[in-house]
């Protein structure tokens, strides 16, 4: 079937999934809430009801875009790495170190340096799982999950005992980063920080990389057919390792941008599962960078809506989890897409 028609059907399938998932969430609210209508309106409308909320949606979307991109890249190469959370901490940690302890540079030099350190931190940490996979053939699902804990616990140790800012008390953090490189608000009145710009740039770069370059071609071919790639002379191990490291770099960016835009420095346990959200985003986006952008905004929207709903009604924000789970399951259902293809698609190609 033609590529163009196939894309339209993909969108249709995703739209169906989104609607069904939202309906599930609504059903739960209707059943368990004493004031369902107000809870629902909170969930649906509050995120765009004022500039503060809109800004919050954008801010929440930023790290999701990065981790979503990270997982999309690695999933497209056929690797089930679940290590974005750990790579996010590793990269954020290294970047923050560069932001705190390097002095005397102009922000124009300092900021890029910090970003590069974050990418390097994430990439190098990811390389551990990558090497374990390529040289020892160790299952990457389990190794990356385990390494997440290693990263979170190690960085926690360091921020609590070595790099702790003495004035931070019970909630350990590093001293504040050079204020000149913080990502401030873009527009007055809108609390969205400049990280959204970097995130959009990342979407463009990843898109170009995946679909218009040699590296992306090799990556996608390896993901689609390892046998074919090997037969064609592609060094599959090198490609897999590269893709895992690119993914780690993106996750590292997620960490540092969150630090520079929201927290001001590295705080112990600053990520509440952003790496795992990235897996959901990549699945929703069917691993496509543009899809990641849309999915991140949608996901952030639901999260903000759920949060305001919790504040204003008797519904806990975990209702969002139900919507998210249904989204993942419905979008990943091959049956829905096959069904659509059969009904609306395709004359058999001779």
């Amino acid at each position: 079937m033609k590529k163009g028609n196939a894309t339209i059907l993909e969108f249709a399938g995703i739209a169906v999934a989104v609607i069904l998932a939202l309906l599930c969430g609504f059903a739960v609210i209707l059943v368990t809430s004493d004031e369902p209508l107000s809870a629902l309106t909170s969930l649906l409308l509050d995120p765009v009801s004022n500039l503060f909320n809109i800004g919050t949606v954008l801010n929440k979307a930023v790290p999701l875009i990065f981790t979503g991109l990270a997982l999309s890249v690695v999933f497209q190469s056929g690797v089930f790495s679940m290590g974005a959370e750990g790579q996010l901490y590793a990269g954020g940690f290294l970047g923050a170190l560069a932001g705190v302890y390097i002095h005397g540079l102009t922000p124009w030099l300092h900021l890029p340096l910090v970003l590069i350190c974050a990418m390097a931190g994430g990439a190098l940490f990811a390389a551990i799982a990558g090497l374990l996979k390529t040289y020892a053939n160790a299952n990457e699902i389990v190794t990356t999950l385990m390494l997440n804990f290693v990263a979170i616990l190690s960085t926690s140790y360091f921020v609590n005992n070595v790099f702790k800012d003495p004035s931070s008390g019970g909630f350990a953090r590093m001293p504040y980063v050079n204020p000149g490189i913080l990502l401030g608000k873009l527009f007055p009145g809108l609390p969205a920080h400049a990280g959204i710009v970097i995130a959009l740039l990342a979407v463009v770069v990843v898109y170009l990389m995946l679909y218009k370059t040699k590296v992306g071609y090799e990556l996608r071919i390896v993901g689609k057919s390892g046998h074919f790639a090997r037969y064609g002379g592609i060094a599959t191990n090198r490609v897999v390792l590269t893709s895992i490291m690119i993914s780690g770099a993106l996750a590292g960016l997620a960490g540092i941008v969150e630090i520079l835009g929201v927290h001001g420095t590295y705080k112990d346990n600053f990520s509440a599962g952003l790496g795992f959200d990235g897996i959901i985003i990549a699945l929703l986006a069917r691993n496509h960078p543009i899809g990641v952008l849309i999915a991140s905004l949608l996901y952030a929207y639901i999260q903000v809506g759920a949060q305001t709903m919790q504040v204003g009604s008797d519904m806990p924000r975990e209702v969002a989890v139900i919507i998210q789970v249904m989204l993942v399951l419905l979008v990943s259902s091959q049956a829905i897409f096959v069904y659509l293809k059969q009904k609306y698609g395709l004359k058999a190609v001779k």
Partner: protein, 312 residues
């Protein structure tokens, strides 16, 4: 500190703690094994344990009966597994993604319910909870070494060990077990012989639900007497690692669970022993690092064996 640790090994406290930590890993790993044999590997063990832990303590504290509580936990877990089966077998969602969704759901839904039913956010500790009983055997209690080894364990510990035998019988001595294996390895062959592939896969998932359900009930009504959000803390993933290492065999699962249970036990003992020179974060890392090392070790061994074959 080392002295305190050594004395705990000598008076077999280590064994007791080991059995306690090993139980949830062993139970869920056996469940994972059955599902893996049938070709529908269940990676949602974390989520299932959380749901079961919450369901059992909710019903257990409301009815005052640990039996009803445990049954409720198992039932909840099995229902979710049927849901998993529906999405993966009928709607063709990749089984790994379905398992991942169960994990997210388990975490979020239990927090949701804890908030809606009990109005608390972090943990639910009912007073007067009747836990799963510990077994005290009157005569054996007096015997010095054997007494400590065999006595005073939770019923669930014994259930877990019995489950190993149960699984061995089921997988190798019943036609159902042969069908499970054939469905996992050669579904087309099974189908052509009239074996109901889908029904068997649903049932394999259901078994993993039963076992994970028992594990979850033990977490909230045996190991502890409360429900804490995300209390599984990676146990389900350790169980997954055991399945991958276990050589597709319940006895292998037992060995793997002992190793990982040991790692967790040592971690706890060191943490609770005063005067420990090692920072707590690195101690907490022990089970995870052990898992990676074990995984790599076995994977390299497999690879070496394959390469040796290829050299002729």
């Amino acid at each position: 500190m080392w002295q305190a640790l050594w004395s705990q090994i000598m008076d077999l406290t280590l064994v007791v703690v080991l059995l306690r930590f090993m139980t949830p890993i062993l139970l869920s790993a056996l469940g994972g094994l059955i599902s893996e044999i049938a070709g529908v590997i269940n990676i949602g063990l974390e989520g299932l344990m959380l749901i079961s832990a919450f369901a059992s303590i909710a019903v257990g504290s409301a009815t005052g009966s640990w039996v009803l509580g445990t049954l409720a936990g198992v039932a909840a877990s099995v229902i979710i597994c049927y849901g998993m089966g529906f999405f993966s077998i009928k709607l063709k969602v990749d089984i790994i993604i379905a398992g991942f969704a169960v994990n997210i759901f388990g975490s979020g839904f239990t927090i949701f319910m804890m908030s809606r039913i009990y109005g608390v956010a972090g943990n639910y500790s009912p007073i007067d909870l009747k836990n799963i009983p510990t077994i005290n055997i009157p005569f054996i209690q007096q015997i010095p070494v054997l007494g400590k080894l065999l006595n005073g364990h939770s019923l669930m510990v014994w259930l877990a060990l019995i489950s190993v035998i149960f699984c061995m019988l089921m997988i190798y001595r019943t036609p159902y077990g042969v069908h499970l294996r054939s469905v996992g390895e050669a579904p087309e062959a099974a189908k052509s012989l009239g074996i109901p592939v889908n029904r068997i896969q649903y049932s394999a998932l259901a078994w993993s639900g039963v076992l994970a359900g028992l594990a979850g009930a033990y977490l909230s009504m045996g190991m502890t007497s409360m429900f804490v959000k995300d209390m599984t803390a990676g146990t389900g993933f350790l169980a997954l690692a055991v399945v991958l290492l276990g050589n597709r065999n319940p006895v292998g699962i037992l060995f793997g669970s002992v190793i990982f249970g040991l790692a967790s036990a040592v971690t706890t003992l060191v943490q609770t022993t005063p005067g420990s020179p090692v920072p707590s974060q690195f101690i907490q890392m022990i089970p995870y690092v052990v898992t990676i090392i074990a995984l790599v070790f076995f994977a390299v061994r497999k690879k070496r064996r394959r390469m040796a074959l290829a050299q002729g």
